[in-house]
């Protein structure tokens, strides 16, 4: 299954963020969208999710053609995981995981056991009935991960889900996510080259203003990879150079 994005255009406050962008995403693989802050990665991700049209944000004009080979449309097949604050403070951890099913109009009693199992998988079975306020940042993202898994969509979009966490927590959560999301089509936005190298089967580097696809790096090996893996350090240097090149040429953009 291929997800193809054709002729994607987005303008924010009359400035072009990206224009006539064409991208392909291979099914069952983990693709990272890498680029400097403000280049338009998150906008692109929201566009793919279908959020740009229906949940339009202010001052934004957007249009694109998005197709999937196997699915009739992406609608209803996408999960979106944000950086933070995605948990609802009035619900317990368990209810937060179940909220997607409730919003879909399903009977949550059917999913209760599965939710608890998923919380166990992410290591939070002791916190099933706690409130999000009592959890640390890393734990909350684990709940968000469990929520995404319960939603059980073939396409999972991640918007810098671990960038607000400390290095160790980030490392552990990257491993957990790779394990849990195995086999799904994952598109992850990140500004950290190392994260992209650890997790991505393909890294699409976006840079410039308006943003363009400047390079694609393919890593066929299984994720998660270790930081001292085979070509990791040389690729890391390469990517840094590339980003540096565009850093001085860019102008602030909508992200």
């Amino acid at each position: 299954m291929l997800i193809s994005v054709r002729h994607a255009n987005l303008a924010y406050k009359n400035q072009l963020v990206f224009t006539d962008l064409n991208l392909d995403f291979i099914a069952g693989q983990w693709t990272c969208l890498l680029g400097a802050s403000g280049v338009g990665k998150t906008s692109l991700l929201r566009l793919i999710a279908g959020l740009s049209e229906k949940r339009r944000q202010a001052h934004t004009q957007v249009c694109a053609e998005i197709h999937s080979q196997e699915l009739k449309s992406l609608q209803g097949n996408v999960s979106f995981m944000s950086q933070q604050d995605s948990l609802m403070p009035w619900l317990s951890v368990l209810d937060n995981v179940l909220i997607c099913k409730r919003l879909e109009g399903q009977d949550i009693r059917l999913f209760k056991d599965r939710a608890i199992a998923l919380l166990h998988k992410v290591g939070l079975d002791a916190y099933v009935h706690q409130r999000p306020a009592e959890l640390s940042g890393g734990m909350r993202q684990r709940v968000a991960l469990a929520q995404t898994l319960l939603a059980n969509k073939p396409i999972v979009l991640l918007d810098e889900p671990f960038s607000a966490l400390d290095a160790i927590t980030r490392y552990n959560l990257q491993n957990l996510a790779a394990e849990c999301l195995y086999g799904r089509t994952v598109i992850m936005v990140t500004h950290d080259p190392m994260e992209a190298l650890r997790l991505g089967h393909q890294i699409k580097i976006l840079a410039g203003s308006p943003a363009k696809l400047v390079e694609e790096v393919n890593l066929p090996s299984a994720n998660p990879r270790e930081v001292d893996g085979e070509d990791i350090s040389s690729l890391y240097k390469h990517i840094l150079e590339l980003l540096k090149l565009y850093h001085f040429a860019r102008s602030p953009c909508y992200e």
């Binding site: 604050d85 909220i99 879909e104």
Partner: protein, 248 residues
């Protein structure tokens, strides 16, 4: 000094002390401003009367507040769900706030009579804006990330409202309710001034007309005490019902 009631009581005590000093020191005559001791004496002497007249006002406030909350929440939800409602109602809500109570109170009494019903209606007009506007603001400002979640799950407008917007807006409603708690007794009193034969507002007017100033001030004290108690009860209940609200 965490308890707002404690602080209120202490400030009040200080105020009484100043008051007593002013009356004695400045030789203020009793028909203008009675001394606090006279007021307390009158309050004690007329304690049955004050409690008797507190009851109708209390009923008006209770029912008026309750009805305002239900009505305000319904209107805010309707505004959140349907654009035309929002479009036409929002200016009306703001206008209701701008209208001086004394202007429309007589009209309501003319339509609804001199009983408790018109006072409740007056309270509902006065509280319409603080409750509805606050709740609607809360509904409007639900974080995007949750609304995105609802969208991706294919939730209908109503389901989004019920499971996300409504609970998310409760803290905003709470602040509106706290304002309402303080205004409700005042609105009841104004209603009683315009047409009633019972209640604390009526007693206030009667005492003032017949120059029983100690009783008038005693009634005022009871009113203030009632307002503070109401505020405390509502704040306390809200804390219990909305425990995730950020506290200061």
């Amino acid at each position: 000094m965490n308890n707002i009631v404690l602080r209120g009581l202490l400030s009040l005590l200080g105020l009484f002390g100043l008051w007593q000093l002013a009356v004695v020191g400045l030789h203020i005559p009793a028909y203008l401003l009675p001394a606090p001791l006279q007021v307390f004496a009158s309050a004690w002497l007329n304690k049955t009367l004050l409690l008797q007249e507190l009851w109708p006002t209390f009923l008006e406030v209770l029912i008026g507040l309750g009805a305002s909350i239900i009505w305000g929440m319904m209107v805010a939800i309707a505004m959140g769900l349907f654009r035309p409602v929002r479009f036409w109602l929002l200016p009306l809500i703001i206008a209701s706030q701008a209208m001086p109570t004394f202007a429309f109170a007589p009209l309501l009494i003319l339509w609804l009579g001199y009983g408790i019903g018109s006072k409740i209606a007056i309270i509902m007009v006065v509280l319409f804006f603080p409750i509805t506007a606050a709740f609607y603001e809360g509904i409007k400002q639900v974080p995007t990330v949750w609304l995105d979640l609802a969208f991706l799950a294919g939730a209908s407008r109503w389901r989004t409202m019920r499971y996300i917007s409504l609970p998310a807006a409760l803290p905003a409603l709470a602040s509106g309710l706290k304002v309402a708690a303080v205004w409700a007794p005042m609105a009841a009193v104004i209603g009683e001034w315009v047409g009633a034969s019972q209640g604390l507002g009526f007693l206030l007017l009667n005492a003032q007309t017949r120059l029983d100033m100690p009783l008038m001030f005693a009634t005022l004290l009871v009113l203030v005490g009632f307002s503070l108690l109401l505020f405390y009860i509502i704040e306390h209940s809200l804390k219990r019902m909305i425990p995730w609200q950020k506290q200061d």
